[in-house]
């Protein structure tokens, strides 16, 4: 590959990783529609899911402008080997404590990532990041309030949020799994890298968790910290392909249908 091709491939890889994360967690969060524990949360999760799908679409649109197929084709015709989302977003929604903790950990990382990307040398991505970060601020505000409220409310809510955190934390580290293009992205000023992102994320997450009467899990164990790796290279959990099948069930009947 020439330098130019290598650069384009690196940017596309970053866009796919981000867009696929947004698409999958957006679909997962939309599963709360009609089932939220209270009306406000039902609406909030549905609304945030809609934002995520909008962000996914905007990222796929940038890929389209770089010569890839259009957003619908990218979202609905690839099989799991060609998806680059992290494992964390693939897990079923489970109980609300799990979904809420995932929302907190994922959206905090997403907010920091877009914030870093406002300075990206990839101009379309920098422009999108400037737009999206105001929207995500609402998501992290929502998450922080609930983590704090439930962390401090009752013994039961505290125990359940701590259990959710212990389970989610090692999975969340999969967000920061590096791709083969990490150096290229950093050297060309596209993205300052997963390591810096993870460092800022850990600081912010720790602050919110500790203020909420919860404890950060101790995971110095290398096996645990790479437990959820593989997604960025196309290796996924058993949950992704069934989700993709469900998402594309109608589309697959007639991909050329006009709506």
């Amino acid at each position: 590959m020439s330098n130019g091709e290598q650069h384009t491939t690196a940017i596309k890889n970053l866009l796919f990783r981000m867009a696929d994360d947004e698409l999958i967690i957006g679909h997962r969060n939309s599963e709360w529609t009609g089932l939220g524990p209270i009306l406000e949360e039902d609406i909030a999760f549905s609304s945030m899911a809609q934002d995520k799908l909008g962000h996914a679409q905007a990222l796929y649109n940038i890929l389209h402008s770089m010569g890839e197929p259009d957003a619908d084709t990218l979202a609905f015709t690839r099989n799991e080997k060609n998806f680059y989302c992290c494992h964390f977003v693939e897990y079923p929604i489970r109980d609300y404590d799990f979904s809420l903790m995932r929302h907190f950990l994922f959206d905090t990382a997403e907010a920091i990532r877009f914030d870093m990307l406002t300075k990206s040398s990839c101009q379309p991505l920098a422009n999108l990041a400037k737009k999206v970060r105001g929207e995500i601020k609402y998501h992290t505000m929502h998450a922080n309030i609930w983590i704090s409220q439930l962390g401090k409310a009752t013994d039961e809510s505290n125990i359940r949020m701590q259990a959710a955190l212990n389970e989610c934390y090692p999975l969340a580290l999969g967000i920061f799994e590096k791709s083969d293009y990490e150096n290229e992205l950093m050297e060309s000023g596209v993205f300052d890298g997963e390591e810096l992102l993870q460092k800022v994320w850990t600081d912010i997450v720790t602050e919110v968790i500790e203020k909420s009467n919860l404890k950060m899990p101790d995971i110095n164990d290398a096996n645990l910290s790479t437990l959820a790796f593989g997604g960025r290279k196309g290796y996924h959990t058993e949950y992704l392909q069934p989700l993709l099948d469900e998402m594309t069930e109608v589309y697959s009947i007639d991909p050329s249908a006009e709506w």
Partner: protein
């Protein structure tokens, strides 16, 4: 040869005042600050650039076709509507007229952000559009559409919607 009167940007803008937000039919796309550019070529082809309010706003495609059809009412050769991400929409871009129409539609107005990100302070004690009291509470930053938040007024005991600052 017949004289063709050249279409001006002002003609396009005043016509686009008739294209309303499908979810808030008193407010036009111009008043919302969504129109970011109009170019008219010498051969009377018009390019309109618009920026979406929220990235996930489902009304974008509808608005694109409504804008196109509306401008085609003018004597122009062709119209192209482009979605513009170079300019990022903010509630600060809503015009004074737009804010007045939002208020008349029963919405609490978004605080001015002046390029800052939203904070919880800007969402508390929002003025109630029904009674004017500021004894209000944010109930949910997420409302019936992406651009609305739900508040509750302790003075007149009514829930109300705010066009949320972004």
């Amino acid at each position: 040869m017949d004289t063709i009167e050249n279409v001006t940007k002002d003609d396009v803008i005043s016509l686009l005042q008739e294209v309303k937000d499908p979810e808030i039919p008193r407010v036009s796309v111009v008043e919302l600050g969504m129109i970011t550019g109009i170019e008219i070529s010498s051969d009377n082809k018009v390019e309109v650039r618009m920026t979406p309010t929220f990235a996930g706003c489902p009304a974008v495609e509808i608005l694109k076709s409504e804008i196109k059809n509306k401008v085609l009412e003018l004597p122009v050769e062709d119209v192209e509507v482009k979605v513009d991400y170079d300019i990022q929409w903010s509630t600060d871009m809503i015009t004074e007229e737009g804010r007045r129409h939002l208020k008349e539609s029963g919405f609490a107005l978004p605080a001015h952000l002046n390029n800052e990100l939203i904070s919880i302070d800007l969402l508390t004690n929002v003025e109630c559009p029904f009674c004017g009291s500021k004894k209000t509470r944010l109930r949910n930053p997420f409302g019936p559409t992406l651009c609305r938040a739900i508040h509750y007024c302790d003075a007149c005991s009514q829930a109300f919607e705010q066009f949320k600052p972004v």
